[in-house]
């Protein structure tokens, strides 16, 4: 049996997403695939404590990396927007003491930094270079008869963007600072 759920996790909520996927697996739902903008397809399975880990590789993963993850007991099963999805039964991780891809503070901080650089900054650029100029243009009536429509559209986008940028910016910085020495 399959089920499909919709959830939206931002680029700063990967740890919450990992916890959620683990809880789903504990209650007998194993993730099959994830597609944007947040459609998760699960398949029913025997309930088991399985640890999920997301790794932001920005589509730069090598064969060597995938081999190493497999050596360390991680099952790779999907990727989405540069994020790799791994899982490992908690029992196996307990015996090996390795329930994380990034085991020390320096590498945890580095992952948050990488997300900032490769995802957050592009979002900022879109906001300032595309969204804001277009919004002002439509507010000033430069978009002809549809200006009102565009003003409302860009207005909604503006609110969504401001919320996302604030949430992700504050959270990613917090994660990085928590681990940075």
């Amino acid at each position: 049996m399959r089920k499909t759920l919709f959830r939206y996790y931002t680029i700063a909520d990967y740890m919450e997403e990992e916890d959620w996927l683990r809880r789903e697996h504990q209650s007998g739902w194993k993730l099959i695939s994830m597609t944007i903008p947040g459609i998760y397809t699960f398949e029913s399975c025997a309930p088991e404590d399985v640890i999920y880990r997301l790794d932001f590789k920005n589509n730069e993963q090598t064969e060597g990396y995938m081999q190493m993850a497999a050596d360390f007991g991680w099952e790779y099963f999907d990727q989405c927007m540069g994020w790799l999805y791994f899982r490992k039964p908690a029992a196996a991780a307990g015996a090996e003491g390795e329930d994380e891809l990034f085991s020390d503070n320096a590498s945890k901080a580095e992952m948050a930094e990488k997300i900032m650089k490769k995802r957050y900054i592009p979002l900022l650029i879109i906001f300032f270079c595309c969204l804001l100029p277009n919004m002002f243009n439509s507010m000033n009536g430069f978009m002809g008869p549809y200006s009102t429509f565009f003003t409302i559209f860009f207005g909604i986008m503006f609110v969504v963007y401001v919320f996302l940028l604030l949430h992700c910016g504050i959270k990613l910085k917090k994660i990085r600072d928590q681990y940075k020495e």
Partner: protein
């Protein structure tokens, strides 16, 4: 050794130290993690992502080099520069240990 290498690797992270230490003999990532676990009685564990990232950076900075490939796994070995860095780290750790016992070291 240039200042950049010194700045990055002296002092180095615990994972970094153990990885470099183990690479005095050729080894691949998973082998290193097993060896570290055994050396430290399971106190220090290194995750796959941390291992891969550290190996890549150390190779780029010339502390270790590609040695050979075995079943799609890359084996690495410490270089001369890596030996120098390791020696500096060992000296630093020895000093810490001696000082922690309340003994001063000679200049």
């Amino acid at each position: 050794m240039d200042d950049r290498i010194k700045r990055i690797y002296v002092p180095m992270t615990e994972s970094g130290f153990y990885i470099l230490f183990c690479l005095q003999a050729p080894q691949h990532g998973y082998g290193i993690s097993q060896q570290v676990k055994q050396l430290t009685g399971g106190t220090v564990t290194i995750g796959a992502g941390t291992m891969y990232g550290t190996l890549s950076k150390m190779e780029q900075d010339g502390l270790i080099r590609f040695f050979s490939e075995e079943n799609k796994r890359k084996l690495y070995l410490i270089t001369e520069l890596g030996q120098e860095v390791l020696a500096l780290e060992l000296k630093r750790i020895e000093r810490l240990y001696i000082n922690s016992k309340g003994v001063s070291v000679d200049a």
